[in-house]
Each structure stands twice: as C-alpha cells, then as structure tokens.
Symmetry: C2
C-alpha cells in the first residue's frame, strides 16, 4: 500500500525527455516515470506504467472470458520444426524473427506469433468433432484460448515509442473450429468483444473496424484502427458507416463493399487490434485433422485475434494528453485521484492522511503527494500532477481546512471546485457510474 | 466462469506421459493437463497450470509488497554495453546467455538476470543519499523493486521438467542502499519474507536457509533449498538449527558456523530461492554513484533476491503427489473443490448446478466435472479428480440426494465422509482458517 505515496515511489518526473526520443507517447511516459528506455523499441514498465498495463489487461481479459476464451501462456522459445510446414520459419517469408541457438548449435526462434504452436499443441486435445463442439459465446462452437505475452519482433526501425516495439505485450487469441460456418459465427462474437474492449479503453469513438488484406481463405482480414496523428498506417474512413479501409486494399474494398470512394476521408491511424481468418489452410499445411461424425478426417479451422496491449497504452498516451502532460481515461489511469497536500503543518498532514485512508477504504485508488515543501513546492506538485495525468486532483491546504473544504480539479477540463468532503465523494462516485 | 466446468476445459487427462519425459513433476503435470511441452526445458502453462502459477505469484507478490518492494517489469532484450563493465557479457563468464541479432547485426542478449539493467536504470532516479533514505520494511532504508519475468537461460541439459527450464518464470528483486549496514538490515527483512513465502507455499517444513558460496563482498550467499528427491543440489542439513550448507562450501561453513560436521545429514534438494549480497562491487564496476551528506560520491550497494516461480511449482508437484496423481496444498491448488456428478438424471444435474453456484457464491473455487456418463464413467471421473489433485472432492449422486447428503473426500488423506450440505460448507470454511 505504501506504493501509493509519492515519497515511497522511486521514480521521479523530469522536465525534459531524451533528445533522441521523438515520439510524444514515449516522451511523456518517460518524463512522468511510467517507462524506462532500455534501447530503441525496448522499454521497461515502471510501477506507474505496470499499473496502466494491468488495467488494460484486466479489461481485455474480462471481455475474452466473456466470449468463452481460456487463458494460458505459450512459450517464447520455438523449435524450427513447428514452423517449417507453413513456410514461416524462413526469414525471407517472415522478416521479424529473432533467432538464437542452443549450446549444440540447434537454431531456435523467439515467437513473434503463435498460430503454429497452438495448432501443434491442440493436436493433443482435439481428435473428434465433439472436441470442437463446445459452446463458446451464444451458440458459437469451438475452442478459444488467449494469452498475454511479451513478444519479440525484429523490427528494422523502432521510432514510435511504445506504439511499435521490438519487445511488447500482446494479447493474442486463437480459435479452432470444425467448419468455416462455426469459425465465422465465433469470429463475429470476437469482433463484438473487440468493439467493447476499445470502448472501455476510451478509444471507441476513434476506432474503426477496418478492411485489410486477407489470405488464401478470405478476401479481407479485419483490423481495428484508431485515428491517431502518430499512427504509421494510412486509412480511408467512411465515418457514417463507421468502417475503415486500409490503403493496401482500397480499390478492392470500395468495389466489394459498395463504398463511395470520393466520400472516403484519408487519415493517419494506429492498428490496435486485428483478427484473421486462416480457414483450414494452416491445419492442412501442418497435417492437423479431427475426425467428423462420419469417421472422416477433416482439417481444423483456425482464426487468430490480436490486441496490442502496450501499443494501446501508447495510443492512449498520444490521444489523451496536452501540453502539460498525460490525461488518462478513468478506466486505465494508474490511480483515479492525485492527492496534494500544500503546507507542512500538522493539521494539513493529519487531514491528508485521514482523507487518503478514507478514499482507499472506499476503493478509490489514490496517489498521495505527501512531499513536504522542501522536497517540492506547491507549483511543482501541481505540475507533476498534470504530467502524471490522473483523472482527478484533490488539494488540501491550511486555508481549505479552515473552511472545511477541499479543492477538486478535473485533469481533462481543468475545472476546479471547492467542495465539502461528502460532495467530493459524491462526485467521485457518480463519475464511476457514468 | 465457464472455465470451471470440465466440459468447457479444452485439456484432457491422459493415462501415460511421453516416454522421453523422465521427471515426475513433468509427467504428472503433462498427464493432468497443467502444462504442454514445447521442447526440452520449455513448457507452456495451460489453464489449470496458469492458475497454479498465479496463486504462487500472488503469495510472493503479497510478501514482497509487505517489505516495501515495488513491482515493475524490465526487458528481455539487452544491449551488450550494459553488461560489459561487469564482464558478464562474455559467454565464457556467463554460460547461460541466449544471444540474438538486430537486422544491422548488432548483437543482443536475452536477460538471464537483471542486476546490471536495474542499476543502470536507477542511475536516472538515484542521485542523492535522500533517494536511498526511504523507509522500506521496519526501519530498513533503501529502494527495492521486483518483477515476475519469463527468463531465458541456455542450459546445457534440461531434464528435470519444470524444475530447471530453459524458459521459466522467476520473481527477481533488487535492493539498493547507501551503505552495507542498510543493505544488511533489509537483507534480513527479505530473508524473513522468504521464510513466510515458502511456509505459505506449503514448503516450509522442508525448506532450509542454506549457506552457499558468496562473492567479493560476502563470505556466503544464502539459498533456500527444499529437500526433494528430484533436486539437483546436494545439501548438508543441521535439522536442529534448521540450516543447510551447500556442498560447495562445506568445510568453510562448518568452521565459520561452528557446526558439527559428523551430525550433518546429506540430502538431495532443489534451490527454490536465493539471495545475494553484491555490496558495492557492481556499482563500482559500472561507475554508478550517489552523493552523500558531505557531497562526496559513493557507490550504491546492491543485493538481489530470486524465487523460482515455475521451479517452486515443480517442487510442489514432486513433493505433494502419490501414485494416483497430484495432491496440491490448499494455497496453490488451481481450485479448492472438484465437484463430481454421478448419473445423468435431471435431479443430479439440478443438485450439482445448485451446489456449484452456492460454492462459487461463497468464494470457494470449484472445478465441476459435469460430464455425462457417456463421456466419462464414475471411475474415470474419480481417477481424473485424483490425478488433477484438488484438495477436496464433493460427490453428488442419486442415492446421496435421496438421503439429503453429499460425499466429501480429502485428496490428501483419502478419507470420505457422508455429510449434509451445511456440514460440507462448515468443513470447507474451517479448513480455510486452519
């Protein structure tokens, strides 16, 4: 619990970011003490940053459980054999492999995705159509699993902060089915779950289900793209229908979907999620079959579903920030309240301590700036609170105590109100419900 | 929540383990569906296995928070420069590196430990003695951080199942101090936390604080060794004093600690934790200093503290198992209760469903074997419940319902009692308290 006092937190804010760091998300997250840069595209997550990641993970986990997906964790180290049948071991086919070697010179890969290992593992558990007949979400049937994994990808360039890392956290899910119809039905359920995820993360208004290039079994894959100046993708939006088209399939999508090309709006965007229908292609390449009702061997149908957890955090930092710092949406903020005590009198310290305990007891997460005025002046505390960007700030001072009041400031609007303690609690509670 | 019904779980039990798998922990965990083997020393954790890992993580997290340590997550990818000053980049010095390359041929390492990256990162946050003056646990002072990380180590051999992996989960903590005295005081606090951790994991009785070889700054380091037939270490125990001595420092420790060599008992053991006092050696090698009260540059003192999370799970599986399967201690079992319904009548199904909901409402985690008799006969269900090894089994059958009774079976003792529903709940509640 002591983590919640600034004097206990080892990180410090700083006024400047390293010169070589050009992306806004990394600049702000570094300055506010959320992340540490190990090297280009490789960031550690410090206590505040880990709290944000965990908030995002919890939302994604709840929605994945909701569609009947089961959490597991696969491995980073990968043997060559798993990837050869699908030709994805080859660096010329997949250009983001990091590879390494055992002592006996056996080459291993570091998993950048998990379709092949999942199918291979499932061979042990799926033999009959009955194994693929479990109800998942609604009437959809199959097996669905997901993981939160630290993925390593050998990106040529990494300049977008935590929006494109060489080491990053991804939620990747995989569903297996006995037919294309079953896959399609479940695929729709995950699409809906993804809409809920991005809504809950605060990205809903600007996130577009987007048509991108498909594979052997499907004309288009689907991406979830968030409109964002720092994004690396280029998107054509139909705002009315709330769909996007990736530049790479523009003409094809316009024709297939009957869109009006002239009405599409070109924007910069970041891919925060993607879903991909592999059909039975991978199972056929790998020779992975189940036995149907008529005792016939049939290939397993596979789809995969990704959400970039650290990337989503980066996109949120880009979009919810201003010249003073970060402005976290309630759902992902590391704490809801930044409690500032102004002045070093016993009265102020005692009032702050009492309020800190009361907030904590009510389940309201609070970061308490308990530094004395020698360690940080009032102006520095306010500046830090704005840089760190929690949704609410509560100020306690000698003068406010004298009038039995607190000051409540909204980070987003900048509005401050002088209120009684019960009014502050009412306000914070109402806000949870909205 | 559907995860808790066997018909929803994609894993299956099996009667046999792969022939090449010689370790008992891996055999049982593979057969019961807790883990999947990707390659030698590299295992995925399936839904049941991930639940056990999370239970272990929660216990370790609570105890680390208790001693004022702050959770973060460092990176796997490591640049050479970080490790050169301490000479630990060299494969001849550290023989467990996995190394890989960026596209421009820059060599990177995959972190097998994090002393160097932690010190380097802390340079940004520690400049003055005040930064190292925070209270941690009791009166001890410094900064303490920890992480749960998937570590990669290029082990020559990996034959002990999840007790020695090439990819495994470790809790590693690092503490920084301004003096050896501060370090020593905190080091004792973490030692005590480790005793509590292994007690809570169910390993307390067989886990010995053990003297092992130290470094430049300390005669001995301390290991936590659990007596275990499958362990790779050889230990000399003084059972009365509850201390162990690692074979590598036997004579030295006997002399230093005034032990009676003839009374020491030689046992096989597994190292589940270790703590290491680096003194100021690493900071001096890396040139990492703070400024003291007299404006003088002083090196930072460093200690590190590891707990093998997946290894602890393996040791628990080795020690708490019998010829029928696993016998999880309450604190780490993936669920507390295995609920078996015998017979396919509506009455049985309804009673099982009601009990399942009631248990869940009371916060008692339950895995419900809701398979019908075509999918699994009673004998198979009982065998699975024994293999999976949850602490309690509740059986519901036509005959038991008729008498308003349930059967409660203890996995450890094998004892069964026929009880009323309230008696079952009383028993399960009392058991939590004990």
């Amino acid at each position: 619990m002591n983590l919640m006092q600034i004097t206990q937190l080892f990180t410090k804010t700083s006024k400047t970011a390293p010169a070589e760091e050009t992306s806004k998300n990394a600049q702000l997250l570094l300055r506010a003490g959320y992340i540490h840069k190990e090297m280009a595209g490789v960031y550690a997550y410090l206590p505040l940053g880990l709290r944000v990641l965990n908030k995002i993970r919890t939302i994604v986990r709840e929605e994945m459980n909701q569609v009947g997906s089961q959490e597991l964790i696969m491995t980073n180290l990968q043997p060559r054999e798993t990837w050869e049948a699908t030709r994805r071991w080859d660096d010329a086919v997949v250009d983001v492999w990091f590879k390494t070697k055992l002592k006996d010179e056996t080459e291993l890969g570091l998993a950048w995705s998990h379709e092949e290992p999942i199918l291979k593992m499932m061979q042990k558990y799926v033999s009959s159509y009955k194994d693929l007949g479990r109800e998942l979400a609604g009437s959809s049937k199959g097996i669905s699993v997901y993981q939160f994994q630290t993925k390593l990808r050998n990106e040529l360039r990494a300049k977008a902060g935590i929006m494109r890392g060489r080491e990053f956290v991804m939620k990747d899910a995989y569903s297996l089915h006995s037919s294309q119809a079953d896959l399609d039905e479940y695929y729709e359920k995950v699409k809906e779950a993804y809409v809920r995820i991005f809504d809950r993360l605060g990205l809903g208004d600007d996130t577009y289900m987007t048509f991108a290039s498909g594979g052997a079994f499907t004309k288009f894959s689907h991406e979830f793209q968030t409109v964002c100046e720092a994004g690396e993708d280029r998107l054509y939006l139909d705002r009315e229908q709330k769909i996007g088209v990736n530049e790479e399939v523009l003409d094809d999508a316009v024709e297939s979907l009957g869109l009006n090309k002239d009405k599409l709006e070109k924007v910069k965007s970041a891919e925060v999620g993607n879903i991909f229908n592999f059909g039975s292609e991978k199972a056929e390449q790998m020779g992975i079959y189940y036995t149907d009702e008529n005792d016939q061997k049939q290939p397993i149908y596979l789809a995969s579903y990704g959400v970039g957890i650290t990337r989503a955090m980066g996109v949120i930092a880009e979009k919810f920030s201003d010249e003073k710092g970060l402005v976290w949406p309630e759902a992902v903020a590391p704490f809801r309240v930044y409690l500032v005590q102004i002045g070093d009198s016993e009265g102020v310290a005692r009032a702050a301590d009492a309020l800190y305990k009361k907030l904590t007891q009510q389940g309201i997460e609070v970061l308490w700036d308990d530094r004395n005025s020698k360690a940080a002046r009032a102006g520095e505390k306010f500046a830090d609170s704005e840089l760190i960007g929690l949704p609410w700030r509560i100020t306690i001072s000698e003068r406010l105590i004298a009038g039995n009041k607190l000051e409540l400031t909204n980070r987003g609007t900048g509005e401050s109100e002088v209120l009684t303690t019960p009014q502050v609690f009412d306000k914070l509670k109402t806000d949870i419900i909205n």
